[in-house]
């Protein structure tokens, strides 16, 4: 938690994570163009939302994240190497190169495992919260997802269940204005935060471009959850500055953009805030950016040398023990 003594450190650390995430995303998008990476979903534009969320959480809190949460992972301490291993699908990847890039698992950091079908993580978060309360743990469970995900049956089911059982869950909608080509106003007729009322839970709308505001709103939700006052839906408004993914061409469906470094860029917002608080100055900013670039480039080159997983590993972990079917197929294929 932030207090007067540690505020500077905490805020500078938050800023550093945002910059590192941005640098990382740009590097990976570039590497994808060079054919060194298969696919990627950058978080560009959502760094403040993700870092603000992370700042409010403890290590023991459990996160059912989605495929666009690199700033969240970085701030929570997941090493860049771990993230790179997943994206490269190499032999050191926690999920053994089985998942498409951006689908992380980071068990040690209480990040659950990312799936592609959107919002299917939400009911899981509700179940996890029920279990943790039953086990008398004072833990909060967070699910992240996009604005598009609020249209799904899973969203409805999860919201309703969390409210009915009054569970310590935070639903954090990373509302970046777009679900691939569909703008949020065509996704839903109401503000996403207003949906909470229909389920009987607290709903808040927050400026997701402002990490301090997102942090404060999340902190309130965390306190509500820990004190048994139930779930919260947070609608964190930002803008998807990049393409949906490296396979997407946004010029086909939108003319609106937010330029990097403009006043709507969450990193610019953070710089202004921290400069006016006297925590950052231009030379410190330059130093943080330089260090991020070097770190990302160096680590990328190192991780890129790690080979693919052994072919036999693809037959593991379907079950605790391989059944005869899989054994037979493995023998046939390898």
């Amino acid at each position: 938690m932030v207090n007067e003594q540690n505020e500077k450190d905490v805020f500078v650390r938050a800023y550093t994570a945002m910059v590192l995430s941005r640098t990382f995303d740009k590097k990976i998008v570039m590497a994808q163009r060079q054919g060194r990476i298969g696919f990627y979903t950058p978080s560009i534009g959502q760094e403040a939302t993700q870092v603000g969320l992370s700042m409010a959480l403890d290590h023991d809190d459990v996160i059912f994240q989605y495929y666009r949460d690199v700033a969240l992972m970085i701030h929570r301490g997941v090493p860049i190497e771990v993230i790179l291993d997943q994206i490269m699908g190499n032999a050191e990847d926690e999920s053994k190169g089985r998942q498409m890039p951006s689908h992380y698992t980071a068990k040690k950091y209480n990040f659950m495992s990312v799936q592609s079908p959107v919002a299917t993580n939400l009911p899981l978060a509700v179940g996890a919260a029920y279990a943790l309360r039953y086990q008398k743990k004072n833990t909060v469970v967070v699910a992240t997802f996009g604005d598009g995900s609020t249209s799904t049956p899973d969203f409805h089911a999860a919201m309703n269940l969390a409210a009915v059982f009054n569970l310590p869950v935070i639903f954090l909608c990373e509302n970046n204005g777009w679900a691939i080509s569909l703008p949020t106003e065509k996704q839903t007729k109401v503000e996403i935060s207003e949906k909470a009322a229909a389920y009987g839970m607290k709903g808040v709308k927050v400026d997701g471009n402002n990490f301090i505001e997102t942090y404060r709103a999340t902190m309130e939700a965390v306190e509500r959850a820990r004190s048994g006052k139930g779930p919260t839906l947070i609608d964190a408004i930002s803008f998807r500055m990049g393409a949906h993914s490296t396979s997407d061409d946004p010029s086909k469906y939108r003319s609106q953009t937010v330029e990097e470094g403009s006043e709507k860029d969450p990193i610019t917002v953070a710089e202004e805030q921290l400069k006016s608080l006297g925590y950052l100055n231009d030379s410190l900013i330059a130093k943080i950016k330089e260090e991020s670039t070097k770190m990302v480039n160096d680590k990328f080159d190192i991780q890129e040398k790690i080979p693919a997983p052994e072919p036999s590993t693809m037959f593991d972990d379907v079950y605790a023990e391989k059944n005869w079917i899989i054994k037979e197929e493995e023998d046939d294929i390898l």
């Binding site: 298969g38 699908g89 592609s116 049956p153 996704q187 379907v318």
Partner: protein, 317 residues
């Protein structure tokens, strides 16, 4: 194949204004694989609908539209994301005619890309055809080339029964072949025989067809190749007559082996032509594991694996 599907949809829509397309990102964006490119600009937002992100709703709405005489052609962006709509497919789409005593029928075609080979990992590579082929009331088709894609799509839209139209996404951008401008139909329930031969029968469909044809060519096999095209109902006559002719059968599909289409094909042959067989019927399929990302090449059936099975059936005594 993308081009053929796109121009056929265009053609169908221009000739029949009861046709409506709906799905995620199909309008302005033209679909994530560009199958519906340009159609919203041409036919408007009322006929080419960019829906919110809800597969269950897309299929349910399509059933409702079709009940009222609109021919709905929903797209599910990836077959892997169809499962929240499964209830609508299995319990509404497939059962409407039966439960209304034939009174309500659904002239709808649900299009969806399926299969691997594009580095899509667990959730952009699935081959779930057996789920649908296990459901009475559905028709299930899958083209393996642009020509069949057009002919099957026209037949599907004209079909009085609801069709699951599975598009092998690996072939979307594969070899371009000329597709005639005029209307033609590929009959539902009819397999194609792209290569004729006498030594053995290879039965396949979808994305595995080019793999099988290349294998046959590269190894000078005297094989009878069947491209099923329709998975429900399968062309039992083509299957049985070919099995009787050659007496040796290999089945190739990308979907996992257990209870895949190969199991049904093999059972049909065992029931109807076992006395003609010189060798066991072999299946070359994807393994019974989720579809992996980095190691996908090991998942996909390939020439070496097909030849291993071919040799076994040819050398069997």
């Amino acid at each position: 194949m993308v081009q053929a599907l796109n121009s056929t949809l265009d053609h169908i829509m221009s000739g029949d204004n009861s046709v409506i397309l709906l799905g995620e990102d199909i309008g302005k964006d033209g679909g994530v694989f560009r199958v519906t490119e340009g159609l919203q600009a041409k036919y408007g937002e009322e006929r080419v609908i960019d829906t919110p992100l809800v597969e269950l709703g897309i299929v349910g709405m399509s059933v409702g539209m079709s009940l009222m005489g609109v021919k709905a052609i929903p797209e599910i962006q990836f077959q892997d994301f169809i499962y929240t709509a499964f209830d609508q497919i299995i319990n509404q789409m497939a059962k409407m005619r039966y439960r209304s005593g034939g009174g309500f029928t659904l002239p709808m075609v649900l299009r969806t890309p399926y299969g691997g080979g594009i580095k899509g990992g667990l959730y952009h590579s699935q081959s779930g055809e057996a789920y649908f082929a296990h459901t009475a009331g559905l028709v299930v088709v899958t083209p393996s080339n642009p020509y069949d894609a057009k002919g099957l799509l026209i037949s599907s839209v004209e079909s009085p029964d609801p069709v699951i139209f599975l598009e092998p996404k690996r072939l979307y951008r594969a070899a371009k072949i000329e597709v005639p401008d005029e209307d033609y139909r590929v009959k539902i329930g009819e397999a194609a025989r792209p290569v004729e031969g006498d030594d053995l029968t290879i039965i396949t469909y979808g994305a595995m067809v080019p793999t099988v044809l290349n294998t046959v060519k590269n190894n000078n096999l005297n094989a009878d190749v069947l491209d099923l095209r329709t998975l429900l109902p399968m062309d039992v006559n083509a299957i049985i007559s070919s099995a009787k002719k050659t007496g040796r059968v290999v089945i190739v599909h990308e979907a996992p082996r257990t209870l895949g289409m190969g199991a049904e094909i093999s059972a049909l042959i065992s029931e109807r032509a076992i006395e003609y067989l010189y060798a066991p019927i072999l299946r070359v399929t994807g393994p019974d594991i989720p579809f992996p990302y980095r190691l996908e090449d090991y998942y996909m059936p390939n020439e070496a694996r097909i030849m291993k099975a071919v040799k076994r059936v040819m050398e069997f005594r």
